[in-house]
Symmetry: C2
Subunit: 456 residues, 2 copies
């Protein structure tokens, strides 16, 4: 960063701009194996106007600008590959408005999903998208995140009704409206959701909320093999049972969770399911699911009807990532994320398991099987280049397999740095189209450069 750029940013933000090594290093970290990369400075804006001013300065000085939410991304999305200023939204983390009749909330990008749901508790509404990590809403939108409840409530693509976005030149646009739908022109909201900070910085989100379900029930059940579990999932979804969650764990993942959370679930291919409805609706859905599961030979059916049992079940599921990490002391993880058509899911998981079984690396598998989405948590020794290379090889085979089976190299974690090498294979000529859109909105390539689109 030039002295002139630094002076302009400092004049704007005072002590809310820092070039100290500590904060810069904090914003150069990644949750996973992706190597860090230091920004030149970190900014903590408090208003949209300040974000716009930062971008005008950045444009004038050719300075890279990288958005930062809660730092929970798994593919290095928010790393400053080319230096510049990281814009941390920690001071823009408020709920601006809740409109219960319209079932929506306007929030700032830095608020986390747990903080939002805490604020919503008294309204009878909740925000359903649940990627596990306590991510920021701005980051979830930028990544097009989803998680355990997408099978029922959709992903961030469905959850975001509108955005305020600051573009590369400092222009502030508002996309979408507070109406539930619109046919008025290009869907700029959908273009920004999943754009990973390369087209603009999100400074406000209008989010769809849902009514807190009157009744909830959850259960776990084991299957003889992956194919039986997947056939159960397919029949359940086709039958129209509005599942709130259908999660899969392979035996290695169940073992890791049992060890970490003190549970004693059967160490077989396992489904964890949840139902949201009226009391009668939940009872009927659970009964119908139970019949379908039984017809596919399910075993070890356990209901978690009491809130504390249900909480324990999902706490265990949400802790699956640390549980897997703990299953190999001192390990770090390459967290994979592929999504395939459900008809190909059993094949995709079985082939992945066989690959992992034939490698020296452990890799428990878990996934949001209602969406065809699964992760292998490839556990490698830190600073062991042989294992890192082997994990990369396994991850590449998973991505290529997903594409071969008609799926995508990332169901919910996004591109960041880790998946950039697959964009051409997944999108073909469409990747160049993404590049053309990027050049149209950010001709200087100052927004999160080095990410998502082809090298300019």
């Amino acid at each position: 960063m030039t002295d002139a750029a630094l002076a302009a940013l400092s004049a704007l933000l005072g002590d809310r701009l820092t070039t100290a090594r500590g904060p810069r290093a904090e914003h150069a970290q990644s949750e996973t194996h992706v190597a860090g990369s230091l920004p030149d400075a970190v900014a903590f804006p408090e208003t949209t106007d300040e974000v716009a001013a930062i971008l005008r300065i950045a444009q004038a000085h050719g300075l890279p600008v990288i958005g930062w939410g809660a730092g929970t991304s798994l593919e290095g999305h928010a790393l400053a590959l080319k230096g510049g200023v990281t814009v941390d939204f920690a001071r823009m983390a408020r709920v601006l408005e809740v409109r219960p009749e319209d079932m929506l909330a306007r929030v700032q990008p830095g608020i986390t999903r747990e903080a939002l749901n805490t604020e919503l508790r008294a309204t009878g509404l909740f925000f359903p998208v649940d990627p596990g990590a306590n991510a920021s809403l701005g980051g979830m939108a930028a990544t097009r995140a989803s998680g355990t409840t997408a099978v029922r409530y959709g992903t961030m693509r469905d959850a975001v009704l509108g955005l305020e976005v600051v573009l590369a030149d400092g222009t502030v646009i508002r996309t979408g409206t507070a109406a539930p739908k619109s046919s008025a022109g290009y869907d700029l909201t959908a273009l920004m959701v999943g754009s990973e900070g390369t087209l603009g910085l999100i400074t406000e989100l209008t989010l769809r909320l849902h009514g807190q379900p009157e009744a909830i029930s959850a259960a776990s059940c084991g299957f003889a093999d992956m194919a039986a579990a997947v056939d159960c999932v397919i029949e359940t979804i086709q039958s129209g049972i509005p599942m709130a969650r259908i999660e899969f764990l392979d035996p290695a993942a169940v073992a890791a969770c049992n060890a970490h959370s003190g549970q004693s679930l059967p160490e077989t291919p396992l489904l964890l399911v949840e139902f949201h409805s009226s009391p009668a609706g939940v009872a009927e859905q659970a009964e119908r699911f139970g019949e379908i599961a039984a017809s596919h030979g399910s075993t070890g059916f356990r209901w978690a009807d009491r809130p504390e049992d249900r909480s324990a079940l999902w706490r265990m599921r949400h802790a699956a990532y640390p549980a897997c990490l703990a299953s190999r002391p001192g390990a770090t993880a390459v967290v994979t994320d592929v999504c395939v058509p459900i008809s190909r899911l059993a094949q995709a998981v079985e082939e992945t398991r066989a690959d992992i079984a034939a490698s020296p690396i452990p890799g428990p598998i878990l996934g949001h099987v209602g969406d065809g989405n699964f992760h292998a948590i490839l556990l490698i020794e830190k600073d062991n280049p042989t294992e890192a290379a082997e994990a990369s090889r396994l991850a590449a085979r998973m991505a290529e397999r997903a594409l071969r089976l008609g799926g995508t190299v990332t169901g919910e974690h996004g591109i960041g740095i880790g998946k950039l090498g697959y964009m051409q294979a997944e999108h073909g000529a469409g990747w160049a189209v993404m590049g053309a859109l990027k050049r149209a909105l950010d001709p200087q390539d100052i927004l999160n450069p080095g990410k998502l689109v082809p090298p300019q």
Copy 2:
């Protein structure tokens, strides 16, 4: 069109290119008041390669290209404002593949929704988006159409999983995958859905299907006023009852439908509702809705449980447009289409009714109130400029009111020609962003010129 362009297109398509006045005039018509506009030629391609070749010729000769589905758009979307070649997809109207396990179908753009559902009948699946008209799927995607079932199953934004699109330069891209979700880069599918043929021509769609409901029930019920009906809708949706349809008719619309369809529904503000679930689920949902409706003073509750009664009810609703037309013999219609936050719906409808009551033009109102979307069918004498001006004034006031109340000038009919004048007011700086995206993908402005984006 130059002789050279014509010769190139004729060499490509033979007798599937016509410059005869009859077919050109057929492709210059509009369902509503929008004035027609003749293309120079009409093409009937049979393959994606032919569409790509048409676009390469068009690019070489600077020729406008306009896509055409079933001709049911209401705002003149497919009119050839600047001549050129209209590409009619009548010969690309097949179902290419149905994958029941993945609950999806690949179709060509010319197939209509009714033809698709006829082909799906034996699979246990159906395609839910229902705009009333028997529109083509390509046109529905290009318009981001929705209709009576959007409150449950979403709009074309939700229904389209992926597209094959031919861009202005003849490049063919495939957007999306057969997996249910993805975080792999910009959402080109969503960008194309609703782009009204200005960014590319859709040559294939991958559509999400749903299981045919095991049980269906429908009902109608009257309310003392619009506010009571809307409060009933809000409470119903907040309570989580998964309504399949919630339609509203004002007394004038009910009267027109009664006269046209031989029904005898109460001529009060009326809701028509439908439930899709298991038999027990439908019974419970209907009972809970009935309680909510009663608490808002509903009267004249009528159940339509038998398939023939249900069919009659929805046939009547789908015939509301011709019924309204028939209520004023010889009239043509200005069909309005606004969508507001549900909390503002009663106010928006009441103010619109008061406006219409104070004008000399009749204008029955009906809408998809679960989405906050409604239409006034403004009935004007043909070739009466005074009435046409009055209808324009009323329509403008509706659009401005929708924006003032936080909504959109079009919930589902799109921009076409009729709504272009409101784009700046609705999107502000975002409209220029749409223009920048258009220039990036179609720098020569050959795709449906004169529509959707600011004049180049």
